[in-house]
Point group: none
Chain length 415, copies 2
């Protein structure tokens, strides 16, 4: 089965919003094993919408519409689909009742044009709208399936997940299970090289690599009649991947590296503090994004000038003079000092050159990360590339990965 | 003139990314007075792309492509357009030179397939790519205009704004000038109420309000045969708006509040330091995002626990006991202490309850911002609403607006 998604709404063509509905539905259809060949966006204009429907019928079996189910004259999706199919619109009692309910509960006055929302295409399968008034509908006709949903994402998403999805799943006897593995510290091509035989041999499960900002993910997807078997297939392929590149694997699906590190610190009841030069507070800020951060992060110092490094963080003047602020020794002293000052179990420091200009004769992208966990303090040297923003983010992520590796008793990686 | 935008890339059909390019281009075309009737997304597949081009030719004069200009076999936009138009691909020397330069500067090795990126459609007008390697191109043929641009937004956007836009502006005799006014500290409805007569009377220039995350913008758009006259029309309407809500106006177009504050501090040669509790380093981090931050930001302390507030920031234990950490006195002492410790002209502090739970019996969203500029230290109390993330961002933005108002000699606003 292949699909086309038609979004109806002039606000999309004016650039007021992006078509995130098509993204969401495409992602969901990929999980269901349904291929999407086209997205179309069309304005609130009957002849043009009719043209788009005709074109879609010529190249897709499943045609999914978002938008144009509301109460105003501009909303003409179901009217146009009904006309193309030669079908009538009829009042749906359930939709009518739930609409009357809605106005009663919210105390708002119902205007005449709202009645239009309770009209559905005759013979269609109705999809309830748990977040709004206009119901969705599915019509099967002439070898095509037409799915109509509202355009507001907060109404469309639950409608798709709770009702439309199971409709399609019933048509397929197959379960499609998916799992995303998230890696840090290894490049896309390096990862691919290490598992190229698995990728070349893939069919079911499939293995799809994707490079994100300084990270790489692998999406594993297995199809089977039994959900449990599909999961087992995923476990098996993950095991093989894990044997080769497991130390770079930090998490699954939508989890982020900071979230993983936060969880590890919580589980081990360890506290942390950051001394930040080039990263300017980013490392601390990422931790404080999570509720309960006060039991993990004691504090931090942003030491953007040498004076603050000396006077607040107590890095000796001699070290700043002899080794410079961007140096292994300075990074180590920053880490041990912040640990002592904030009374934390672990101290991590960042000092380097974010650019755009060289500093202390050191190239843009030169970054030292210091790590202190007791009397022991060490540092790691990195050479990052890219914009100022990229270098700073890469620095913080690498610092977080050092903490992850420390708590997981894995060796630190240095490039 | 009317347009269709064709995005080429299977990653869009898999739902891995949203088609934000179409949104950006649509918004820009609306400003140029060009109507967009359709968006199409098509995969990396020649027959289907060919079909999409044919369809677009039947309904649009201007056809804009994004994506598919890269070095791999999957990238086939210019090849397909050239074939549809019966034209050849030829090597462009400028594109070749800038590509060789890129590899030289980054020290990366150039693989054979990169050469493909320097090929352009014969007779096309070339658009330089300031952020990457693949150039864009414009071809005029048979009453149609074909514009091809890369799919990476950071490459496409400057290419459109710097090169494609002026190409279209030259074709129109009307100039469309646009200006965005950015406001902080005033709600959308409050702003609208104050200028409702101007909004109701608008035709040319038009005034379009838009609420963004804790900010409001007004987009003014004027049309005139003369660019200068259009600019004068904008000046005139801005003057009227400025008389009523000028103190909330912090900047224009794409500028951000931190950028404005950074510029003001630079212009006045003032240095700053932040003491951050609930904001966790965000205020410092925003400053360090700009090159040259080391002459503005001396440093900062993230004092997430009371121990750090006492031992690093020297807030007296008595104050933490009597008034609590979330209090006017604590905020004032944090601000004056960070100013002294870091030796800066201005010290700003943040202490409050980000949630999800109450703290010290104070409601979620209670935030004190301290401000010290000499011996004088004062504080402001706010009650913010929303998620943990929203409360923290709102706090930092409000702190930045306090700095802006201080440097502009405007009264602070308190809610």
């Amino acid at each position: 089965m292949n699909a086309e998604i038609i979004a109806v709404g002039s606000e999309l063509l004016l650039g007021q919003i992006a078509n995130t509905n098509a993204q969401f539905i495409s992602e969901q259809l990929a999980l269901l094993g349904i291929d999407v060949f086209f997205h179309t966006v069309c304005g609130d204009n009957e002849p043009r919408l009719r043209d788009a429907i005709k074109k879609a019928e010529s190249r897709a079996e499943l045609i999914i519409f978002t938008g144009g189910l509301g109460p105003t004259k501009d909303d003409l999706t179901k009217e146009t689909v009904a006309r193309v199919l030669g079908k009538k619109l009829v009042a749906d009692q359930k939709a009518m009742d739930s609409m009357l309910d809605y106005f009663k509960v919210t105390g708002r006055e119902m205007t005449e044009n709202n009645l239009k929302q309770a009209l559905v295409i005759e013979g269609s399968h109705i999809l309830p709208n748990s977040q709004g008034m206009a119901p969705g509908m599915i019509v099967e006709e002439g070898g095509h399936v037409y799915l109509l949903m509202p355009g507001v994402p907060s109404e469309m998403r639950p409608m798709f997940l709770d009702f439309a999805k199971s409709y399609f799943a019933h048509r397929h006897s197959q379960h499609i299970q998916s799992r995303v593995l998230r890696f840090f510290g290894i490049g896309e091509s390096q990862l691919e090289t290490k598992i190229i035989d698995l990728i070349d041999a893939q069919s079911n499960p499939t293995i799809a690599p994707l490079a994100k900002e300084s990270e790489v993910t692998l999406r594993l997807t297995a199809k089977h009649e039994s959900k449990e078997e599909a999961e087992k297939m995923l476990d098996l392929i993950e095991q093989k991947i894990d044997q080769r590149v497991g130390t770079y694997l930090y998490g699954y699906d939508e989890v982020s590296l900071p979230e993983v590190v936060f969880g590890l610190l919580q589980a081990e009841k360890k506290t942390i503090a950051f001394a930040e030069s080039l990263t300017g507070g980013m490392a601390s800020e990422w931790m404080t994004g999570f509720p309960g951060a006060s039991s993990i992060l004691n504090g931090g110092i942003v030491c953007y000038t040498n004076e603050v490094k000396e006077q607040v963080l107590h890095v000796p003047t001699e070290v700043l003079k002899s080794d410079g602020a961007v140096s292994a020794r300075c990074a180590e002293l920053m880490a041990s000092s912040i640990r002592t000052l904030c009374g934390s179990d672990i101290g991590v420091s960042f000092t380097g050159v974010a650019g755009p200009d060289k500093s202390e004769g050191k190239d843009v992208g030169t970054v030292y990360i210091g790590f202190a966990d007791g009397d022991n303090s060490r540092s790691y040297l990195y050479q990052f590339k890219g914009s100022r923003r990229k270098i700073r983010i890469q620095s913080v992520k690498t610092g977080y990965d050092l903490i992850r590796r420390y708590l997981r008793r894995l060796p630190a990686i240095v490039k």
